[in-house]
């Protein structure tokens, strides 16, 4: 009798451990599989909705000036004319990086809530320049998880096209260089990248994600420089978004 009870206790402990193991495996499946599918569907939905809104005139979306002088509250000290305020958590742009394939993702401002999971692919860093403006338009996105929007960020090469589409038109950037830094190196989003306090004279775009893949030990940073801005009416040149791969 004592032997049976002992076996039941040991068996019960074993079952608890097996259960914990199965739950952990399920968590990984959920994080890397389930959430990825749900979120990439959601991202596609947001992109096509935004495309439709842009096509219909962009009512209610922020009108970001296409003159390189237009910046928001820029810590680098650039001019604030005219001021456009991005609403927290509101989608305002589509980012298209042909090297990464796919339709790109919507960008949204996450002032004050940047640490919440971003089911919408990426988020603009608060208090950086607007797309196309003098200063540094900084965007961060998930490397792995949430649909893996920037899983291949390390494939971006010098000269690659990176287009930020807003209601007003297109800011066309070209990748210049990349770097890998610890998460605390916030100077990558300075108005002049990695030169905090310097007054900006050029329009930069900084794209940040985690590195290495499936880890968040470091940050993988791509710096791109504005090539030109194109008004919506003019449209993008047909071959600009051709897949370079």
């Amino acid at each position: 009798m004592a032997g049976r009870r002992w076996r039941a206790v040991v068996g019960g402990i074993g079952e608890v451990f097996i259960t914990i193991g199965v739950v952990l495996v399920l968590f990984v499946v959920w994080q890397l599989g389930f959430v990825a599918i749900v979120d990439s569907n959601a991202q596609r939905g947001v992109v096509s909705q935004l495309e439709a809104q842009f096509a219909a005139g962009g009512e209610g979306l922020p009108e970001i000036p296409l003159t390189p002088g237009g910046t928001t509250t820029d810590p680098g000290g650039a001019t604030n004319t005219p001021k456009v305020t991005l609403e927290d958590g509101k989608v305002f742009a589509i980012l298209r990086v042909p090297r990464l394939g796919g339709p790109g993702g919507p960008a949204r401002s996450t002032r004050g809530s940047a640490c919440r999971p971003w089911p919408r692919a990426w988020a603009a860093t608060p208090d950086t320049a607007l797309p196309g403006a003098i200063g540094n338009f900084a965007v961060a996105g998930h490397r792995a998880g949430h649909g893996n929007p920037l899983i291949d960020i390390d494939a971006i090469r010098e000269g690659d096209v990176m287009v930020v589409e807003t209601r007003s038109g297109y800011a066309v950037y070209r990748a210049q260089r990349h770097t890998i830094v610890p998460p605390t190196s916030v100077d990558v989003v300075a108005a002049v990248p990695q030169k905090p306090g310097v007054k900006p004279t050029e329009a930069w775009f900084t794209l940040t994600s985690c590195d290495p893949r499936f880890s968040s030990t470091n940050r993988y940073i791509v710096f791109a420089k504005l090539e030109r801005v194109i008004p919506r009416a003019e449209g993008l040149p047909a071959d600009l978004l051709a897949d370079p791969r």
Partner: protein
């Protein structure tokens, strides 16, 4: 605990297996839809910012 559950399930071995599978899938659904989304903010995986609530 699983042995006791198995004994309590009605029907033949096939019916028991089907019910057990359905129960397992129900548990997976509860975990995926409610439990995991609720606990993930408390886990280190998504703490990727250096200001605010991160780090």
């Amino acid at each position: 605990m699983y042995a006791a559950l198995w004994r309590r399930l009605p029907g033949s071995r096939l019916v028991k297996s089907l019910i057990a599978l359905l129960l397992f899938l129900a548990v997976v659904a509860v975990l995926f839809v409610w439990v995991f989304p609720a606990v993930v903010p408390y886990l280190p995986f998504e703490n990727v910012t250096v200001d605010g609530a991160g780090q």
